[in-house]
Symmetry: C2
Subunit: 380 residues, 2 copies
């Protein structure tokens, strides 16, 4: 079966000329994994915003719609998967939402990964009027990949305890009907560390991030093999080391890899009871659209996405260490503000090493650690 | 030496959401060959013009300049190689010309591949006012990759005899000071077939295209080993089979591969007398910026670019044959005009199979036939 040609991703996110965020961080990895990618650019900037200044243009809603309509008119709006990331402003996001609604209604099998890019580390970096639009988009998604702050923003739940984490994930599954929730990088705070089951807990809570996946109970009839426990979402988790310093585009890369490695379950009915066992460590070389393990496709995908993202981050970190001192001056808001190039040079040296790490993008030399099931997440 | 990180391409050409022309045909191959690519999009269209209709926007000269200026201000305008392709309109092309002039003056070692995209098969598909701008750009280029019609347009020489071909190539070298001229696909007309030396001539002139490279005499002093013959440009040629039907983006792919496989000569002094021997069949796996053979870097690059482009075209052709009949109806201007989707479906089925052929892009399984020297091109 010509898997490469049957799976096609429509990627809608930002474009930067220099460096790797948005589409530049997502499209090449998807292509390396065999996907044809249709690439819609929501902005056309010289570089990402982390540099402190950039130049370029944003696509208006009218411009985005013109492209979408032309593709439909020409029978070219034929993706099997949709990936949406950063869209500047409510108008543009509404245009993307319109497209997502149309594709969802026309293609029940569409796999839609929604990365609700709104902010990070407690700071919103989009206008607040996009938040309700992202909430409207949630029921259309197959997978969402918010960071912890975006989870808080979408659910209005402050994540400060296991109870609050349960509540937020429940809202995403039950109120917004999201089948698969992936929180890629939660700081391993004390409460989170202590809530972890031994199988997931690292030796220390220092310099660790936690990735959590949660899959809603399948819509199988009770007559199926699903146990009572299967009526609760299945939660998997894995800790990964936190590398020092700030990297841009990591979430965009992770989301693209998550979508690429998410395999359609053999049946649309995923039994949570079966998926409650950790997925076996899969070969990182499997074709992107092979059937994959019959259970917990999201834990399988997240394990691969985490391993490859970590590999690229290590390459990037190691490269940054080889740069001249003036290109890796530590972050300092005052000095950075006084001398913009100070920050710019640091950012330039920390662009993701995607091209140099392309073998890893294809899975070569990447050791994949399986996600661990969080047995009693919902309480014993 | 970390060759991947020291060579960086700035690609300035069109972007289509669906399919593979312009940047979509050039960037992925360059990335697969280890180049970081800075990607400037001169248009943002739904699909290429060959479909007959498309939607989207063109970047204005002001928008392009804003991006260029922001990159310079942020010390991000640091390419070692420049690739320019389709730019819509004289204003936009002037902006690109301004950038090329600046880069050339600041970076004497810059390798600039100029693909003067103006038309094909006797038809101009840009406004005539871009022609003088392309002529102004020629002296800035390291390599140009016009098709035969663009050679005619640039030189005002009609190519209908060996004499006229000599004259046109001489004008490009002598009047416009272009070091390396590559004419990728000349129809093997009778006069051209008969002019070919036996080492290059195929068994028949049917269904063949000729690729010609010409390198200007080196700037070595006469005291060098260069023979008298070395004072004439060195011409290499190779015939490739012509595949039936029309493919889009082939020239864009070829130019990207040509740039990727063009190795800097160990010295800036290339002795034509030495390069007058055919380059050995090189491994298709050599890193993109390894030293390569000491002579005729352009013949080496063209041999690789031809082999890989042919491989991708064969994959694309074979795939098209597997499509349902209604997606590969023969070209028919009347029927196509009456039913636009007739042409659109044909075009869709003939998009380059770059993703599926990515191993070949990296040289895997590609047999490279060396270019043959055209001994008496300038006359015995």
């Amino acid at each position: 079966m010509d898997t490469e040609s049957v799976e096609r991703v429509l990627s809608v996110q930002s474009h930067v000329v220099y460096g790797y965020v948005g589409g530049k961080a997502a499209v090449f990895p998807l292509q390396c994994l065999g996907y044809d990618v249709d690439v819609v650019n929501t902005v056309h900037f010289s570089n990402h915003s982390g540099y402190g200044r950039s130049g370029g243009t944003k696509a208006t809603a009218a411009e985005l719609n013109a492209v979408f309509e032309s593709m439909e008119r020409n029978e070219l709006m034929v993706p099997t998967r949709l990936l949406t990331g950063y869209v500047p402003g409510a108008e543009g996001l509404s245009a993307v939402a319109g497209l997502a609604r149309k594709l969802r209604s026309e293609k029940p099998d569409l796999i839609y990964l929604l990365d609700p890019v709104m902010g990070d580390s407690g700071k919103l970096y989009v206008a607040a009027d996009v938040i309700p639009i992202y909430r409207e988009l949630l029921p259309l998604a197959t997978i969402i990949s918010p960071n912890w702050f975006e989870v808080e923003t979408l659910t209005n739940v402050r994540l400060d305890s296991l109870q609050s984490l349960r509540k937020a994930i429940s809202i995403l599954h039950d109120t917004y009907h999201v089948p698969h929730v992936v929180i890629s990088s939660m700081p391993l705070t004390r409460w989170l560390y202590e809530a972890l089951p031994p199988s997931v807990r690292p030796p220390t809570d220092e310099d660790q991030l936690l990735c959590i996946t949660s899959s809603a109970p399948s819509s199988c009839s009770p007559s199926s093999a699903a146990s009572a426990q299967a009526q609760l979402p299945t939660v998997h988790a894995l800790c990964v080391p936190l590398l020092p310093g700030y990297f841009s585009g990591v979430g965009d890369l992770f989301s693209a890899l998550l979508l690429a490695h998410f395999h359609r379950a053999p049946s649309t009915c995923i039994s949570s009871s079966i998926s409650a066992s950790p997925s076996p460590s899969p070969s990182a070389h499997e074709p992107p659209t092979s059937a994959g393990p019959p259970t917990s496709p999201i834990a399988h995908a997240a394990a691969h996405a985490l391993a490859v993202t970590q590999h690229i981050l290590r390459l990037t970190h190691e490269h940054a260490l080889t740069l001249p001192a003036e290109q890796r001056l530590p972050s300092d808001d005052e000095l950075d503000a006084a001398e913009p190039l100070r920050k710019i040079r640091r950012m330039r040296g920390r662009e993701l090493r995607l091209v140099q790490g392309q073998a890893a993008l294809r899975g070569v030399g990447v050791e994949v650690r399986p996600m661990q099931v969080w047995e009693d997440f919902w309480g014993a």
